[in-house]
């Protein structure tokens, strides 16, 4: 637990931080998203159902996985046969 800074300065600091976050998320990032190279990249990922923010394989779109997975197995008898997660 951090010790609060005394006086109204702490609220002013919070306001500055919130303004910085708002400027980046409402101004800079949407602006970047409109740049042709980045827009093309975002469109490409959207078309291919890729969520680059996924933390674990279970969060990915099942369409990204080969179906059935057996075609990737050297010996099909070893395959789990589970297909998509």
């Amino acid at each position: 637990m951090t010790r609060p800074i005394a006086g109204p300065r702490r609220w002013r600091n919070l306001l500055y931080c919130l303004l910085a976050v708002a400027a980046i998320w409402l101004g800079v990032l949407p602006g970047l998203g409109r740049m042709p190279a980045i827009k093309q990249h975002l469109d490409f990922l959207r078309e291919h159902h890729v969520d680059a923010g996924a933390m674990f394989y279970s969060e990915l779109d099942p369409r990204l996985f080969p179906d059935p997975l057996q075609k990737y197995s050297h010996d099909s008898s070893h395959s789990s046969g589970q297909g998509n997660p």
Partner: protein, 443 residues
């Protein structure tokens, strides 16, 4: 307690499926949970954050607030009960949890901005930021204290994550996948850890281990699991995750460019990407940028690596309790002592993985049940990790992070470990898909 709460949530998720799917048990069964529509995260948005709170097709947009509230309620109940049992008082927990939930919603909204999301800057980072802005400006209000139990949320989330680790999927790519993910990864993990301890002489073995694991296994999820297994400090976990996400954002753009420039075979490229880029989502993005075949191989290799985190977390917990925590003492700790030190949630994590793997392998209906249960618990797990990182942020002072940036040893550790990872994985990918199993994956 984390095992009990996670067990209760798994049971609720499982029961919610049986209640609505009378056809479960037939061949090709499909199962669904009535809870799933009620468990949502804020959606992706570009320039207007209000879009994050709408879902569905443009002609039938629906607010996600009811689902966000339902998710919060589903988590609030077991944690309020647990708080009461642990003597913290459920009454004071409720308002604290409500504010924490609001901060987690804010973190999700920040993370779901389209540019941020597609460059793999995950919600845990923004959970930390939201918490740290508050703690380092106005200070963390004391009324939040009853709900500030980040470790509890992480451990519960990890037990839920165990249910997503379906061991049958290990063999999804046959022997080549095993060799790439299960031979190279442990070699890189152990070598990097030893390099950090013996050569760089990093003073904190837990920081060394968390960086080694997130770099060699699968990024943030591996960092969270190993961090909890080796009882890493919250600052160490935050630092390791920040380092991993920063490198991942660069690698997911640069690696496909290098692959295209040298004209690498798609199978080898996919295996190389899957085995080296830390984060799962970034692997999918980088693989697709190379080509569809590379994308498929990359996500399967990363999936096999994801499954490795159960083994890694268990191994790290055993090593820590039997070797690291023994310190300089040459005497073997007794079994009772090992049991006392052992992080018990790891057992819940492994047990969930085994139970759900058996369920998924049992029959088609079992697989459908496991999948439907996980579709519920993965949302809860995501919320728990976000709540945990908001808590960590609320308890972190910028000054306590400063020592990790000085000296540059963690950075050197990451760069050296990742260089070894890139080299060995490329070598193994070439050996598997270029020499030994050339026909294993038909282009």
């Amino acid at each position: 307690m984390a095992i009990w709460v996670a067990g209760a949530l798994l049971l609720v998720a499982y029961c919610s499926i049986q209640a609505v799917s009378p056809d479960v048990g037939q061949k090709g069964a499909a199962a669904a949970s009535f809870l799933k529509p009620w468990l949502k995260l804020p959606g992706t948005w570009n320039s207007n954050p209000a879009d994050a709170f709408q879902s569905g097709k443009p002609e039938a947009r629906q607010s996600v607030w009811p689902a966000l509230a339902a998710t919060g309620l589903l988590l609030l109940i077991p944690f309020a009960v647990a708080s009461g049992i642990m003597g913290r008082g459920s009454g004071r927990f409720l308002p604290a949890f409500f504010v924490l939930w609001l901060l987690a919603v804010l973190a999700f909204v920040l993370s779901s901005q389209e540019v941020i999301r597609q460059y793999n800057l995950e919600y845990v980072l923004w959970g930390l930021l939201v918490g740290m802005i508050i703690s380092n400006t106005i200070g963390t209000p004391s009324f939040l204290r009853p709900a500030l139990c980040g470790e509890f949320y992480i451990k519960t989330g990890l037990v839920l994550l165990g249910a997503e680790i379906l061991l049958g999927r290990l063999l999804a790519l046959g022997l080549p996948g095993i060799c790439i993910a299960w031979i190279v990864t442990p070699i890189v993990l152990i070598s990097t850890f030893l390099f950090g301890q013996k050569v760089l002489k990093i003073s904190s073995p837990s920081l060394n281990m968390v960086i080694s694991a997130d770099m060699s296994v699968c990024g943030v999820s591996a960092a969270i699991a190993t961090g909890a297994a080796c009882k890493a400090k919250k600052e160490e976990l935050s630092f390791a995750i920040g380092l991993s996400l920063a490198f991942t954002a660069v690698m997911m753009v640069v690696q496909p460019l290098v692959i295209r420039a040298v004209g690498m075979d798609e199978r080898i490229a996919g295996a190389w990407i899957g085995g080296t880029i830390d984060s799962t989502g970034a692997v999918a993005a980088a693989g697709e940028m190379v080509g569809p075949l590379a994308g498929e191989v990359a996500v399967v290799v990363k999936m096999i690596q994801n499954i490795l985190i159960g083994v890694v977390a268990f191994g790290v917990a055993v090593y820590w309790t039997t070797v690291v925590e023994r310190g300089g003492s040459t005497a073997q700790p007794s079994l009772m002592e090992i049991w006392r030190r052992f992080p018990k949630f790891i057992l819940g994590f492994v047990a969930a993985s085994i139970v759900f793997s058996m369920l998924a392998e049992n029959s088609s209906s079992g697989a459908a049940l496991a999948e439907a249960t996980v579709s519920v618990t993965k949302q809860l797990r995501t919320w728990l990790f976000c709540l945990a990182f908001v808590c960590i942020g609320l308890e972190t002072n910028f000054r306590t992070l400063a020592p990790y940036f000085s000296g540059g040893k963690p950075l050197v550790l990451y760069v050296v470990g990742q260089s070894l990872n890139l080299t060995l994985t490329l070598l193994m990918a070439w050996l598997m898909f270029g020499v030994l199993f050339r026909e294993a994956v038909a282009p």
